[in-house]
Structure formats: structure tokens, C-alpha cells
């Protein structure tokens, strides 16, 4: 579903992605972790070309993302993305947030868009808030609406860029629950997160990135957490710091 071949990216003279390659099959849930500055967020944003790359190839469902001739809006409309800071549209109600792209991008009628949007809103348990503005919701609620907004577009894959990092600790659970449900339904997901509990529970694979944009590990969840001795020293150091003792 997602294929990345030898991708490199620079900001000026600073290299932020260094020869990254990965492959995500349909229905797989892949967690990307690593210290800050390792390029995780940049990596996930290259998949729908929010961040362009200078070298390498990226394919999503066979479409060449790196190709200048690719119709990026069309590709992006099929790739759901959830951001660290939610990025709901503050000037629109929850319902309008859910429907605007369905109508303007997919060309759905208002009734159809609304029906689909409200169904997704129900799924994340926030139907009662449909007429509110994002500013009236808690962080956790906003992030759940953001997930519903992405799902309303019927994406073939979902990208999560640190979806719980900006949340108060007690709101992390409600967002992770929604994500666990999605994974159980077979959604293809790539998740940048430090939530190792989530990685352990639902991921198939874990990718570990280190400073400078290197992919240091790309291995099955069981191997990653079960065979820590076989990990790179840098990975062990990182896990020692963030896993509960």
C-alpha cells in the first residue's frame, strides 16, 4: 500500500531524511518511534507530499507521489491524516468540518456528506457536539473529530502524526481507543507515536528512527519488544528511557 525507496530530504544543508526505505502492506498497522529530531513527522508527511523530497521514490497504492506530474490533491483525498495539533477549522462547526472536503473535493451532495460525516462522528462518540465550534471542545474531543473528518473521506490508508502528544494525559485514552477500533477493522495505518502501549497492543511492525533521519530498525512488534537484546544500542537506550521500569 505504501512503498518508500531510498528517500532523502534536506532542509538547506541539514539532512532530515537519510536513505529511508519501507513497505507497508494493506491492513498493516505500523508504528514509527524515535527521539525528537529524528525526522518521524517529516517522514510521515512525505507520504502525502505535504513535505516534498529531493531524492528517492514514494508510492501510495501504486501512485508515484514523488512524480511532479501526479495529481496530488486527488491522491491526498484518499489518504487520511491526523495531526498533532488537530488542525480542525476553527471558523467552521463540527458538522461543517466533517463535510466541507467531502463536498468541495469529492463532489458529494450536502445530504450525502452530512450523513457520512455524522456517521463517523457517531463512531467517535461525539454526535451531541455536532453543532459546536472546535474551540468549544476539549483536546481529546477535537482529535476525535479530526479522526472522524479524515474517515469521512473514505481513505484507503490513515496517517497519524503524533496524535496524542498535545493532549492532557487523561485524554490520551479516548483517542487511542478510537485508533484501536480502527486497527481492529483492518484499516491500514501508519502511526508516529511514543505510546508504546498502543504499539504493543495493536501494531504489526515497529520502525525506529534516529537523529539525522535514519531508519535504524524495521521489525515485527514481537521481535521489537520481545527480543530487546538483539536491538541496536541506540534503540535499547531509547526504549530504556521511555518504557516503564
Amino acid at each position: 500500500m505504501i512503498e518508500m525507496k531510498n528517500v532523502s530530504k534536506w532542509y538547506g544543508a541539514t539532512q532530515v531524511l537519510n536513505d529511508c526505505s519501507l513497505n507497508i502492506e494493506k491492513g498493516e498497522v505500523v508504528v514509527v518511534c524515535g527521539p525528537s529530531g529524528s525526522g518521524k513527522s517529516t517522514l510521515i508527511k512525505t507520504i502525502n507530499a505535504l513535505e516534498p523530497v529531493q531524492k528517492g521514490e514514494i508510492y501510495v497504492d501504486g501512485v508515484a507521489v514523488h512524480d511532479k506530474a501526479t495529481n496530488l490533491p486527488k491522491l491526498r483525498s484518499r489518504v487520511g491524516m491526523v495531526f498533532q495539533h488537530f488542525e480542525l477549522f476553527p471558523h467552521l462547526t463540527v458538522t461543517d468540518n466533517l463535510t466541507i472536503a467531502q463536498m468541495k473535493v469529492l463532489g458529494r451532495g450536502q445530504d450525502e456528506a452530512k450523513q457520512r460525516g455524522l456517521k463517523m462522528l457517531e463512531r467517535v462518540g461525539l454526535t451531541a457536539h455536532k453543532d459546536k465550534f472546535p474551540g468549544q471542545l476539549s483536546g481529546g474531543q477535537q482529535q476525535r473529530v479530526a479522526i472522524a473528518r479524515a474517515l469521512s473521506m473514505d481513505p484507503i490508508v490513515m496517517l497519524f502524526d503524533e496524535p496524542t502528544s498535545a493532549l492532557d494525559p487523561e485524554m490520551v485514552g479516548e483517542v487511542l481507543d478510537v485508533m484501536v477500533g480502527l486497527a481492529a477493522e483492518g484499516m491500514t495505518m501508519m502511526v508516529v507515536t511514543h505510546e508504546m502501549g498502543f504499539a504493543r497492543k495493536v501494531s504489526n511492525r515497529v520502525i525506529f528512527m534516529d537523529v539525522g533521519g535514519h531508519i535504524l530498525e524495521d521489525t515485527s512488534k514481537d521481535e521489537f519488544f520481545g527480543n530487546i537484546e538483539a536491538r541496536q544500542p541506540r534503540t535499547r537506550e531509547f526504549l530504556n528511557k521511555i518504557l516503564p521500569h
Partner: protein, 230 residues
């Protein structure tokens, strides 16, 4: 110095000399604000388009007009625009309202330079993530601007727009240079007619003050409201 005498401000005199002038000043302000924001938005979008020729054209437009006194722009336009231009308007409207048409067009052109900088600041002050979010949902550049970026930029900039409109209202008095009949002109004629120039200029100042001050209060309230919305 003779005592001040305001007794000639009867309703009949006010409606004869002042109301049409006030009407023109206010309509010019409103029309120039709307036209200036529309043209200013286009210029701001050109400036941010990333297309070099458009960027430079917009940059020069803004820099040029911000460096020339408004009264000169008005005069130049009035003196240089050939008579044929005014014949483009239906009937004798063009020739009859030459000064007024000239005033409206120059104000829109001039104010667009200022409004475009406000729009640009409004767009650039939005978090980058909002653009990302629109893009990630598959919106094109134009859709993102139209539905996500501009509505927010405009809303956030509303108080600044109004502040600029207050300046604009005061600047409308500059149309005296080409003899258009605005509120100040009305006061001037009234003063000459009754031989009471001091009183008329005092009253003119009072009228400008009341309107501008009322608008300033409105800006203050809007600012508080927008702070809550954010």
C-alpha cells in the same frame, strides 16, 4: 475676536449644504473599503503566489502607492485620465460626476495597497498546520485559500480593516483637491455663504470626530469579541 455664533445651523441649512456632502463622504468610504479589500486581496494573493512576475508586480504596486501622498494620486488621475474615459459611463453620468468617479477609482487603487498588506499579514499569521490540513483533505491551492485560509484571515483582521476604514474616512476630505462635493466642501460653502468660516470648521471637526470616534469604539468591541472566539 467676534463671539461664535452657531445659530445658522438650522435644519433647512444643514440639509441644503451638508447632507449630500455627508452622503458622498460616507458612500465613498464604504465603496472604497469594499473595492479596496477586493483588489487588495487579489494583490495579496499575487504577492504570496510564489510566481515571481506576479510577486514583483504586487510588491511594486504596494511600495509605489505607499510612497506617494494620496492627494497626488487623486490629482494625477484627475488630470491625466482622458475625457473619453468618462464617456464610457452610460448617459451623461461620466461627465456630470467626473470628480466623484475619479475619487472612487483613486481611493480603491490607493487603499488596495494598504488593504493588501493587511490581508497578507492575516494569511501569514495563520498556523501552517491549517494549510496542511486543507491540503491533506485533498483541497487544491485555490480551494484551501477560498474555504480555509481567507475566511480565517479576514475574520482575524476585521478590527484592522475597520481601523484602516477610519483613516480612509478622514482621507476622503482630500477630494477637495478636485472639487468633489464631500462633507468638508459642504461646510466650506456654508461658511462662505454665511460669513462664518470659524464656526463651520469647528463643526466639521466635530462631525469627523464623532464618526471616527464611534468607529474606534466599535473596533475596540470587535477586538474583545474576536479574542473570545480564538
Amino acid at each position: 475676536m467676534p463671539a461664535l455664533d452657531f445659530s445658522f445651523y438650522t435644519w433647512a441649512n444643514i440639509s441644503t449644504y451638508l447632507l449630500s456632502g455627508l452622503y458622498f463622504s460616507v458612500s465613498l468610504t464604504i465603496a472604497a473599503t469594499i473595492g479596496g479589500i477586493a483588489l487588495g486581496t487579489v494583490i495579496a494573493l499575487m504577492r504570496l503566489s510564489g510566481i515571481k512576475p506576479l510577486e514583483y508586480a504586487a510588491l511594486w504596486y504596494v511600495n509605489l502607492l505607499r510612497s506617494i501622498p494620496l492627494v497626488m494620486v487623486i490629482l494625477w488621475f484627475f488630470l491625466l485620465m482622458p475625457s473619453a474615459f468618462y464617456n464610457l459611463f452610460p448617459g451623461d453620468i461620466g461627465q456630470k460626476y467626473r470628480a466623484e468617479i475619479c475619487a472612487l477609482i483613486t481611493f480603491i487603487i490607493f487603499e488596495a495597497a494598504f488593504f493588501s498588506e493587511i490581508v497578507r499579514a492575516g494569511i501569514q499569521s495563520l498556523p501552517r498546520g491549517q494549510t496542511f490540513a486543507g491540503q491533506a483533505l485533498g483541497m487544491t491551492y485555490a480551494q484551501n485559500m477560498r474555504y480555509i485560509v481567507l475566511p480565517q484571515a479576514m475574520r482575524n483582521m476585521l478590527p484592522v480593516f475597520l481601523t484602516q476604514t477610519i483613516v480612509l474616512f478622514q482621507d476622503t476630505s482630500l477630494v477637495y483637491a478636485i472639487g468633489a462635493y464631500d462633507i468638508l466642501k459642504g461646510f466650506e460653502i456654508m461658511g462662505n455663504t454665511f460669513g462664518r468660516r470659524v464656526e463651520t470648521y469647528i463643526m466639521a471637526a466635530v462631525v469627523y470626530f464623532i464618526i471616527s470616534f464611534a468607529l474606534s469604539m466599535l473596533v475596540k468591541r470587535l477586538n474583545e469579541k474576536i479574542r473570545i472566539l480564538r
